[in-house]
Amino acid sequence: MKYLDEYRDSTAARTLLDEIRRVATRPWTLMEVCGGQTHGLLRHGIVSELEGTVELIHGPGCPVCVTPLEAIDLAQQLSRRGDVTLTSFGDMLRVPGSRQSLLEVQAAGGRVRSVYSPLDAVELARRNPLEQIVFFAGGFETTAPATALAVQQAARDGLENFSLLVAHVRVQPAMEALAAASDNRVQGFLAAGHVCTVMGCESYGAFVDRFRLPVVVTGFEPLDLLEGILACVRQLEAGQARVENQYARSVRAAGNRTAQDLLREVYEICDCRWRGFGVIPSGGLRLRDRWQAFDARRRFRDVPALPVVEADQCRSADVLAGRIKPPECPAFGAGCSPESPLGAPMVSSEGACAAYHRYRILQNG
């Protein structure tokens, strides 16, 4: 398949691996920011191939994982009302909240439905005029344009039964928080290719100047990942810190202006609590005043908030911040598995724990 198979060629991948090993004169520690990249690195066995040469710390780029518990609990409360159908992406429905997941709420009679696009939720609202349709809008700047478009569409069609429970997060402020932390070990970043497709990579200029750490915008296929790592290692070996764009087939320097305009039109930047991180300044998005009519938090003000409870054996906060690798968590594979997850990273298709669980390499093979 075009633009997929050629980036999975094993001979080419070997050439790149050899080159990385040749260029690296000492071990380096990089962070891949996006959960999609984490899955690619583990699935294709790149993490283990580079052992001793490049350590990869898995970044916080799993939107479902960092969505605050408070928002998940609120979504569950909404789905229990009876007059609301709560819609979201499949991963979001499986994430454990304080007490259970949305899917478990559904089994107990809550109204929950998975959709592939927020525009499908708008369509559902159009077809069910007597029902309130709420789309639980998590995700980074990659997903936010689609939810912004959904709000605009609902407004254009005069749909008064559609609203958004916004839990959108922004990647760069989280990278800044990580780089600024006193215990930061990351020496270079593989920036998230799809987020940069929307936001561009110009904004990383200031980041690089401030932290003196290389940033390489990287795609998701094996050859993309290996090229991103190679570019990062070359910069580090040369003592440089620049913004490089490995994923130029999709990422333009300025990003996708149309999508950015759409974001600015509908959302404004706000401080935001990330699960596992605490409040990240400018780390989230909220609806602008003129779109407040579509804010589920306002529309359903009367829903009581329940106390937020984190599973105490779960060390997902340390995993998300890159302080530990998933197998170092005592619950990994024991009390916590994809079938009965304690934390979001074990659930999501972008979560690091799920990636380690799914793509575990057989040692005594």
């Binding site: 075009k2 592939y116 997903t143 939810t147 497709t197 929307v198 087939r249």
Partner: protein
């Protein structure tokens, strides 16, 4: 396709959450393979079939 107005029929686009967010640039797509060729991996690899 509201966000990728420059794409034409036959172009490849990247779709996220049900909307297209970018058009794949075929010239940039080739660059990865040019770089590989420079590393000496030119036996059996000729870049994407276009």
């Amino acid at each position: 396709m509201a966000c990728v107005t420059e794409a034409d029929e036959g172009d490849y686009v990247i779709v996220h959450a049900g909307i297209a967010i970018s058009r794949i640039d075929p010239i940039e797509a080739q660059r990865v393979f040019d770089e590989l060729a420079a590393l000496g991996d030119d036996d059996g690899w000729r870049g994407p079939r276009t």
